[in-house]
């Protein structure tokens, strides 16, 4: 599987097939047991990764704002500026007013949004997202989908996006990769051509429905193969 700069790739597959594991490998957090992950010579390639883990993974002792500011502070930004950017990013995930809340006072979806804000705040060049919107209501989810897509269109960073929603995958990604379990492997890759996706009424178009059906079949096939 190749991943070019600026790709938007969605990863689908049955539960437990290794999507989270693959994401961790891409991020370099665990070594692959077989095969290899190669990066372009560009030394900065592995820098500037944003990762939304499947679980919120917040520091319980820090407020929402400090959690979001973490990557900036780790990169050496001064605290005041990092805080300002974190507050801004929290507002974008509709958590204005919750800057000083500790994680245990947040609802499940709110924690996940803090985690998303943290991944976006660094304007990463490679964004790895593990079911980031699963815990969100559909309206927030749609808006964040659109936000993400706009951001991506503007800045053309690379995205690998794990989701269980076929609709979401087709709506967001140029490339939809379907994985199968035991052993975890890529079984199918579908392309959603840009000319289709860039129409404003894509979501209600026939081509969208067709793509969805196709992905759906690929997924069903992947599960039977297991």
């Amino acid at each position: 599987m190749e991943l070019a700069r600026g790709d938007f790739l969605a990863l689908l597959g049955p539960s437990g097939c290794g999507k989270s594991t693959l994401l961790r490998m891409i991020a370099g957090l665990i070594p692959p047991s077989a095969g290899e992950i190669s990066f372009p010579a560009d030394p900065a390639a592995r820098k500037g990764i944003g990762f939304v883990f499947q679980e919120p993974t917040l520091m319980p002792w820090a407020t929402a704002a400090r959690n979001v500011a973490l990557p900036l502070e780790l990169a050496g930004m001064n605290r005041r500026e990092a805080h300002a950017r974190a507050v801004e990013m929290l507002a974008r995930v509709e958590l204005a007013g919750f800057e000083d809340a500790y994680p245990r006072a947040l609802s499940g979806g709110m924690k996940m949004r803090v985690s998303i804000a943290r991944a976006l705040v660094t304007r990463p060049r490679l964004l790895l997202m593990d079911e980031p919107f699963a815990a969100l209501d559909e309206i927030t989810r749609f808006r964040l989908n659109n936000d993400l897509l706009n951001l991506w269109r503007d800045e053309r960073f690379t995205v690998v996006f794990v989701t269980h929603s076929i609709f979401e995958s087709v709506f967001l990604a140029e490339r939809v990769v379907v994985m199968a379990p035991r052993p975890g492997r890529v079984v199918r890759e579908l392309r959603v051509p840009a000319e289709d996706r860039d129409t404003p009424e894509f979501r209600t178009s026939a081509s969208y429905a067709a793509h969805c059906r196709e992905v759906s079949h690929a997924l069903a096939a992947a599960m039977e193969a297991a």
Partner: protein
């Protein structure tokens, strides 16, 4: 409802404490136990008040050594734990020496320390430190190892330096363990200061509570001896409560152990 529970929380211990003291006083009175065997609390209180001038000086000496030892134990224990957290090899290489320090009976090596260290005050401090540092070291080591693996991954991902991982991740999550160790060490530092003084038997004007206990024992001033013991216990409780409060203040926003307890 809340205020009642709160009140009970302070009221019950007070009542229980009062009852315990009353029972003690009554037992001493009813059994006619002479004060040279076991004085009653009233007499101890009177002695405490009467001898406050000399006892308070000793109390101050002991408290000073205790706090100095605790401060050194906390900082050195923490530093060592951090060092051990750097790699298993370091931990396995050095932990045995920490254990040796812990289990070496202070009573046995206090004389050696007093030989090697000229200043008696410094010798006492070292003794108290040896007694107090281990719980902090041991607990903090466990705490540093208990860091959430996902958060560790997150930090690695964002290229956090060793120092940042330590300072912003491992130390905060080791905090509950560290504070639990500190609460144990608080008492031990006091013990260490007292035992060392017992063994060393330093006296003179700058002598601490241990010497007062010994002295009163030799002179058969038993109420005075108990008064000094009461001061020791009181100091211990005060240290423990102060450290518990500290722990509560530091953890209450995020850690279960410092919850208000409504769930229990």
């Amino acid at each position: 409802m809340i205020s009642r529970a709160q009140a009970l929380r302070w009221f019950a211990p007070a009542v229980l404490g009062f009852l315990a003291l009353a029972a003690w006083e009554w037992a001493v009175w009813a059994q006619g136990i002479p004060s040279y065997i076991l004085p009653g609390p009233v007499q101890i209180a009177q002695t405490l008040a009467r001898d406050w001038d000399s006892l308070s000086v000793s109390l101050l000496v002991t408290v000073q050594i205790t706090f100095a030892a605790l401060a050194v134990a906390a900082s050195l224990g923490l530093l060592l734990a951090i060092l051990f957290a750097q790699s298993r090899v370091i931990e396995m290489s050095l932990f045995p020496y920490a254990v040796v320090l812990q289990v070496t009976p202070i009573v046995a090596i206090a004389p050696l320390i007093i030989i090697w260290v000229d200043d008696v005050r410094a010798a006492l401090l070292i003794c108290a430190w040896i007694v107090a540092f281990f719980p902090i070291l041991s607990n903090t080591t466990v705490g540093l190892q208990s860091t959430d693996r996902n958060l560790l991954d997150l930090f690695r991902l964002y290229g956090a330096s060793r120092w940042q991982v330590l300072w912003r991740l491992k130390l905060p999550s080791a905090m509950p363990y560290f504070l639990a160790g500190l609460r144990i060490s608080g008492g031990l530092a006091l013990i260490g200061a007292i035992v060392a003084e017992f063994v060393a038997g330093t006296g003179g004007t700058a002598s601490g509570l241990a010497y007062r206990i010994l002295e009163s024992g030799y002179q058969l001033q038993i109420p005075r001896m108990f008064a000094a013991l009461v001061l020791v216990s009181g100091t211990g409780i005060a240290i423990f409560m102060a450290l518990s409060l500290l722990s509560h203040l530091l953890l209450r926003r995020w850690h279960e152990s410092a919850d208000t307890g409504e769930h229990r």
